[in-house]
Symmetry: D4
Subunit: 149 residues, 8 copies
């Protein structure tokens, strides 16, 4: 049967270890999965625009320079993904995660959401468009193991 | 020159009068714009699933029934839109607005965001994908007037 | 707000009055919906190929001549639809209904399924891809009324 | 000439050995084909949702959890396929097989159907959209051998 | 039911009255069909390039100037069509008709071919991609009447 | 035959009367064409960003605000066009005209270029992708008259 | 620079050695090109349907069975191609070659035609959609060598 | 994490060493990037048409023969690219660079522009559609290093 390597994009929260738990879990089970994500070093990501392209006075355009470069990476990896996992953590607005989910769904990529039940109502539109809603990273690993079985 | 009627989808916050201000402003200036949006009556929207399809014990599936029906309306109007305006207000997570923005961008629809400067950093990825960021609904009307001039 | 006329394709069972109940219900509520469907006269549909293109000995090719012509109508109306309602009745295989659902979903059309609970397990893949599962035609009308409110 | 490896998705009946006969037949002839399919262990497939994501009272949502996960696998492999073979057996409704066929056709994937003549009339729409209708798995192998010659 | 006006593109032979017979037949039966075609005045079509854009010595480029302009019309009307009828007559190479058929099929437009049985073998690939093969223009009218019934 | 109204987008030079000559010529011949273009008032176009969205110190971002809004209009009308005419005049870089041509071609829109022979070599890639190269606006009108005959 | 392997589909005439001359020429120059084509054994191609799927009385359906299977190979390889070369020889109708060209162009594949000048006028629409018209297979090899330089 | 090799197309100016500086810079930092570009030997590129396909009197058609062949290479590599860098130098019209940018953007490819500030106003539409505007080739290398980190 298929020896396809699955490309999985991990979008969302950068303040917990959910990515590592999925990546380590997949590796521990020997799954043929290749992961990608945005740059998760908060400062490196926020400052990439001015670091490379030069300083900006106005924070709006400072952010723009960074988000332009970051969108190259995000968009390319989502295009390249077989599956997109979107994590919503307990803090911050995380609009970029929901935006990634919208992009992924509109491009026909299956999405798995990962968040606590307390956010269920606020995420009902995103969860509706998703193929599964997980509470723990290990459930994502279980799904990957099943998909690649 | 073109007598095209522009279809504009208004996504996001339902707790202020920004939609009315845009619609009234466009009407006052005689613009050939047809607006659409999600159902903005909060209870009608949240309960449409159980009201029509029958009750659910689990709030997760109660929401699912509603969000499934609502997504028909949202997706169809975004598909039909020439332009999507996404409003982020001061309160709530509003992940559905960011999700709509992602869907619109991935389908090649131009997006205008509408929000206060305090959300600029949190919305930098959405604003980067947008064609303009407005602070007031009247600016959206001004843009529409320009586009249809 | 939008005066969009919704195009709704009605696929599936031809041995009950579910289409009429939806069409009449929508008309009774003054909804701006235009319905389309396959030719529902069973004999006219089955014999259209040989009636127009000439007789065939082999029933396989007799069917092919009919299904070729019928697919022009089906495919065109699904392409043209904002929404596809797929009805599974208590009898027959109805593989064409499930096939239509697959075509509609792959083309990004929202699907509503309409069937009794006894078929839930057999239709779990189709229902998963659908935006709502109704038990009665009147529920479809209620959804249409909501979508066009 | 081309050394292309063909990806072939095998959809449908899980209660006979048709997949094995195609896979073994292709291997015996040394064909450069990589096969994929849904999880064909009936219980594993039906229970994957509740096994990984937690139990559900209502069988409708129990099925939904499973079909969501299974659709990730099905949709990804159909997207990745050069050819989709859809088998209809003598028993059950097999609506998911017809649904897969509709998805495959709408995405421009060539489809081969595999079924007995007794189902010809019920499958006339699916067969019309297919490139060949086989009666035996060995015919599918013969076609593969020809395509890769 | 649907009051859709069908757009039908008539491609191919310009040396017989098949277009008129289809158009007149559809009008006689009051069908809501709008027909389009290439310019069928042979000289006007061949000379449009040099007539408008200036003379050319080399017949290859003389033809190119004409075929560039003609392709605007052809491509636009095929894009706009719900159905493409392709007629192969007894004479000439008529490669542009087969080319139009390929374009139409690849864009997902249903195709009906219209030709005598003597060309069946030479047209087997085009007929395979078509939804029906007619021998007489009146059969095309019959199909249209059925599709719009 | 077809009563299709053609949508024609006029891109490029704003310092001569070529648009008027095409529009007036089409009107004089009673052609069913609807024209669209970018805003051709140079100052209104350059300043739309700061006029509506607020002033900017840096000319790079001042231009960005304008070009974001202008791209909504340009992109929407190109999407809506059956045909795109791109005019290159004797002065300025006119990179936006070549950019529009690239967008139009990649979206499958037929393009007509309009420029003097002195620019032939510099425009060879754009002309190659175009369906016709005209020297005078009246030739564009002649082509429109032919396409709509 | 790029080490891309180019996939080139060779469509058309099967009665001369043009394919071998291109393949041998590319090999002699060490070009990283992978070629594909339809089955060029005339009898094997014509009879594949009845050989595998069973005999047919009517030659129309006998051809259909073959052309269905052959279209799987043709369509898959064109989809997979970076470049499609279409050869028109001195004999036969060769409508399948023109059909392949139409499919390739509509899918955005660059096409090179290969034919004698005597067919220029009959092929003006196909040549217009092509990127180059060659007279000898060696010219195709020269173009490949240039493209991969 | 991902070991994706990025394909980067380098479009535009051929009279300076910007390509070499990007390629050498990426190699020096060990980046997994594969670069492609048009043929940058000016004469080879301009004369490829007549060299391979035969001489032309008229310079317009001489250019056409070359640009047809060159567009195969350009279009294929842009299709294959994850990222397109477009360089505008101080001299010449460089309309082909702006055309490439339009094609890339319309196909959903992220674009980076590379030019001096003196061209900012003339390139405002292209820069708006781009994800970053660089002044020096080394900034492009820095972005690549970040994207692949």
């Amino acid at each position: 049967m298929s020896q396809k390597i699955w490309n999985v994009y991990l979008s969302g929260e950068i303040h917990s270890d959910w990515r590592e738990r999925i990546i380590d879990g997949a590796r521990a089970r020997g799954l043929a999965v290749q992961f990608s994500s945005a740059v998760t070093d908060h400062d490196a990501s926020d400052l990439v625009g001015v670091n490379i392209l030069g300083s900006e006075e106005d924070p709006f355009w400072r952010d723009r320079k960074a988000s332009g470069i970051n969108s190259i990476r995000t968009s390319t990896h989502i295009n390249n993904a077989d599956l997109v996992v979107v994590r919503f953590g307990p803090k911050y607005k995380q609009w970029n995660a929901a935006f990634d989910a919208g992009v992924a769904v509109a491009r026909g990529k299956p999405v798995i959401t990962l968040h606590d039940a307390e956010h269920d109502h606020a995420l009902k539109e995103v969860d509706e468009a998703a193929k599964a809603t997980c509470r723990h990273p290990e459930q994502v690993v279980d799904i990957l193991a099943y998909l690649l079985s």
